[in-house]
Subunit: 250 residues, 2 copies
DNA sequence: CCTTCTGTTCCGATTATAGGAACACTGTTC
DNA sequence: GAACAGTGTTCCTATAATCGGAACAGAAGG
């Protein structure tokens, strides 16, 4: 039992999350395959409530101030009592590196929880950071579990100038790596997301066994050696099983 | 032309912005004066979309990961091309202190734009920070323009343990200060929000001449003297008129 | 000056929502 | 342990809100 009207409305709102540009009514209508009349009324409501504002000159719409009211709660939402966050913190202090929880959202990975290491040099990822789904361990490990069709759509999304042929070549290039990720059930990258950083990630799935999120250890490559790498991976896999069981219960 | 269903749904979602606690269906039903059946369906939809999640043990709901997808856009939304932000930045560099834009949202002031000074010691307010509406210059200057009835409601909200009599006494105590704010059209506090900080604020109104937001200069009290104070106030008033005219056009 | 965009509004047919009632479950009280 | 008050959740139908076609007003471009 859900509310169809709300579901559609949220689809409209989420158009604004993918771009900083102002969007027009008919533009959104095309993006969502909804009638301009519906989009218009929905946008009016969002605007009245402060979620969107209309640009005075272009008449187009962009994000309003209202979203900020959730900001404060979300910043503190890594509550220490949350079982998942607790597990992440334990892991972070055990290995003395930062641990990230990244959710999949359409074409991006979104960082939703961070358990920071006690090290002084903090790794420059903040809550809510969005990364294209095939860059860096935390995203690549999710990309690997998508169906080929979806993978191609994603590549097309980020390389719109290239042809479909080129996308297939790109994917063929990644194929071996992606297969290895699925075999191991983890992914490691060095200097991919950031030239000074490494990332080790494992996938997390929902009830339907679809890929949903990833758990990542990330730190500076200069602190790394083979032994630590092995140890961190072991710890990560162990904790991810515990977190997985929590997620599946949701 | 607005969508009633969406309007109600947003009212439900916003219940979660005021608290970090998990909320129950009937609890929200009471808060919003909507039927449990309606709340239930709405919450189901939000949950399915990832905006809310259900706590496995208590069965109650709290904020989900989905709001984070707007985080990234909002962080960068202080776009340098925005006329308002440009004015704020000019002011910030002119007086060499940080400038804040604070929106009113129910019982709180929400920081939505920040133009930082070039000073090394950054003032500890980040985007989205929520402050009770009667604390600090940025909020007090908005509080002063509310009707007495609303002011009492607000005091009741934050001092629920006190009686209505005590609220009226509290308000009477503030009465002179609030009148002075309205006469001057600005408000200054020293060491109120933070013991090391001062704030100078002016109000901003919407088309209907209702109080809507405030513009604030804030910095460390140790850098202050009478002459600077006077200068900053002049500059602030001047810029606020320009910003006001932009806001009214919205 | 016509065409083709844009945002916006109107109105009747359609359909999704509202709200009462009931269910299953938990914890409390006597 | 039975009665009770609380919870989240689901079903149903009259009703009220949404949908979607069409048209309007304005802007931009050739």
């Amino acid at each position: 039992m859900t509310v169809k009207t709300l579901k559609n409305s949220l689809a409209i709102l989420e158009c604004f999350a993918s771009t900083e540009n102002a969007l027009g009514v008919r533009e959104i209508s095309r993006m969502t395959n909804m009638h301009t009349s519906v989009v218009q009324r929905t946008i009016n409501t969002f605007t009245e409530a402060g979620y969107l504002i209309q640009d005075e000159s272009t008449k187009k719409y962009k994000m309003g101030y209202k979203m900020f009211i959730f900001y404060d709660v979300l910043s503190h939402s890594s509550d220490p009592h949350s079982a998942i966050y607790e597990l992440m913190q334990n892991l972070a202090s055990e290995i003395n590196e930062s641990v990230f929880l990244t959710y999949m959202d359409n074409e991006y990975g979104v960082t939703t929880k961070i358990a920071e290491s006690s090290k002084n040099i903090k790794y420059a990822v903040s809550l809510g950071t969005k990364t294209p789904l095939y860059i860096g361990a935390s995203c690549k490990v999710m990309f690997a579990y998508l169906e080929e069709e979806q993978q191609l759509e994603l590549l097309a999304y980020f390389h719109e100038k290239q042809s479909e042929e080129e996308h297939k070549q790109l994917l063929a290039h990644l194929k071996n790596e992606l297969q290895t990720i699925r075999q191991h059930n983890w992914c490691m990258t060095v200097g991919e997301y950031n030239e000074h950083a490494f990332g080790i990630s494992v996938p997390l799935f929902n009830n339907k066994k679809e890929i949903m999120a990833s758990l990542t250890i990330s730190g500076l490559i200069y602190d790394m050696d083979e032994q630590r790498e092995k140890y961190m991976l072991e710890q990560l896999l162990q904790v991810s099983h515990q977190i997985q069981s929590h997620i599946t219960k949701l």
